[in-house]
């Protein structure tokens, strides 16, 4: 990035952050995820400063990039949730039915001790952002993303067994 591009991106950050948060928050369930989407958008902007800075409508470029980022977040969470559901089904130990009322109790084997399960669950079920998960583990956001990807691959391998 040139110094001029750095300044332009920085100015756009402060100009657009609140508005982009509003846009992201309209679709994502909490402020942490919305902020993650906005931060990812600016990360992409920093990776492609020419595209942003030479755009005739930099603000519109940011909105479109944010839209795609939101879709990716939602898609990743949905696929992780499906993975969790499939994994849980394979771990059922016992199901008991009560005669007089419609209720089911499902007991599972030890699940939460596995780091992979915890990681995917935090993302898919708890709605935590990568930053939150990274901070609780004392790792970087980038390392956390890699761990999430690895965790998905491990759970998928478990399912194939």
């Amino acid at each position: 990035m040139t110094a001029e591009q750095q300044k332009q991106i920085s100015d756009l950050y402060f100009e657009m952050f609140d508005k982009l948060m509003i846009y992201a928050r309209s679709s994502l369930e909490n402020d942490a995820l919305a902020e993650e989407a906005v931060q990812e958008t600016f990360r992409i902007a920093c990776q492609h400063p020419d595209k942003l800075c030479e755009s005739p409508n930099p603000q519109g470029w940011l909105v479109l990039t944010l839209k795609n980022t939101i879709r990716n977040i939602m898609s990743n969470r949905a696929s992780a949730e499906r993975l969790i559901e499939k994994y849980l089904i394979t771990q059922i130990k016992e199901i008991s039915f009560s005669e007089n009322k419609i209720s089911l109790e499902v007991m599972y084997e030890n699940l939460a001790h596995t780091e992979e399960f915890k990681l995917i669950k935090e993302m898919a079920v708890d709605g935590r952002s990568h930053l939150q998960m990274a901070q609780s583990r004392g790792i970087t956001v980038s390392a956390c993303k890699k761990r999430v990807q690895r965790a998905k691959e491990i759970l998928q391998k478990e399912l194939k067994k």
Binding site: S10, F17, Y23, S27, G60, E105, M107, R128, S136
Partner: protein
């Protein structure tokens, strides 16, 4: 090109009179609009600007952009060699201070238990996953002071209600499903309310010396699967008035959870098992 509001066209003026929820719905729909379809960036930017102005007017707190910018440079900047100008009026990030609610939830690792709940109206959800009930720490932590690392609601407020029932009634919610008896010595500390287009959450905080517990009620307009965590120590399905209440322990604390057609309710904190059951039995269901 993006137009400032001072140059707004007549077409865009009609959005000025829309409610914030309607405008947010338009933004939500824009995310779902396929790229090939016509997506009006100018309109999107106009609505974002409009909502931002409204929030600045109603909320005099400092924009989080300053803090977020520092976080961006620390956590997200892609290349270590790259940098952005330092923020103006750079401040040290606020220290993360704890909230007493954190003492209510133990941080111990737990076994996950997923189960189905009985719906008191007798309606049976035939879909397997529709009736899984899920709670995590996220569902209950709803403070607004930045201590919550999970779901931070956009509009949590604390109001001086004298009881949880009063808070529910004032917000046009039912109150038949909450306990009418509270263990001796506990007093109501505060009630936090969070209302969004999709759900309403009420949390009543009770204190007795250094002991605390909460009763939370969440109404939801669309159902979604839930997951409850528990430890290995205790789990019981306690029936009262024909309704199943799920009582379990998590480290040193007991929790009770139940659902109705439109509400999820939880008792959680420093309570004895018999106190929880007595609270459950005090629910009127009228």
């Amino acid at each position: 090109m993006y137009e400032k509001r001072s140059q707004k066209s007549e077409d865009l003026k009609k959005y000025d009179s829309m409610s914030s929820e309607e405008l947010e719905q338009i933004l939500r729909l824009d995310v779902d609009t396929p790229d090939s379809a016509q997506s009006d960036t100018e309109l999107t930017l106009y609505i974002m600007d409009l909502l931002a102005d409204r929030r600045r007017t109603s909320n005099h707190n400092e924009s989080p952009a300053q803090r977020a910018y520092q976080s961006f440079m620390l956590n997200y900047l892609p290349d270590e060699d790259d940098t952005l100008p330092k923020p103006k009026n750079e401040k040290k990030p606020a220290a993360h201070s704890g909230h007493w609610l954190r003492n209510v939830f133990a941080a111990a690792a737990v076994l996950a238990v997923v189960f189905f709940g009985t719906i008191n109206a007798g309606a049976f959800r035939s879909d397997f996953w529709d009736t899984i009930i899920r709670w995590t720490e996220d569902t209950f932590i709803l403070t607004k002071n930045g201590q919550n690392a999970y779901n931070e609601p956009s509009s949590t407020i604390c109001l001086p209600f004298s009881s949880l029932q009063e808070a529910l009634a004032t917000n046009d919610q039912d109150s038949y499903m909450v306990p009418t008896w509270i263990p001796s010595g506990y007093s109501l500390n505060e009630i936090k309310v969070d209302n969004t287009p999709l759900q309403n959450i009420f949390i009543a905080y009770y204190e007795k010396g250094d002991k605390t517990f909460i009763i939370s009620v969440r109404s939801y307009l669309k159902s979604y699967p839930s997951l409850i965590e528990k430890s290995d120590d205790y789990f019981e399905v306690y029936e009262s008035n024909g309704i199943a209440f799920y009582i379990f322990s998590n480290d040193t604390q007991y929790h009770a959870a139940w659902i109705t057609d439109a509400y999820e309710c939880v008792i959680s904190g420093d309570l004895e098992l018999d106190e929880i059951k007595k609270m459950i039995d005090s629910i009127n269901w009228e």
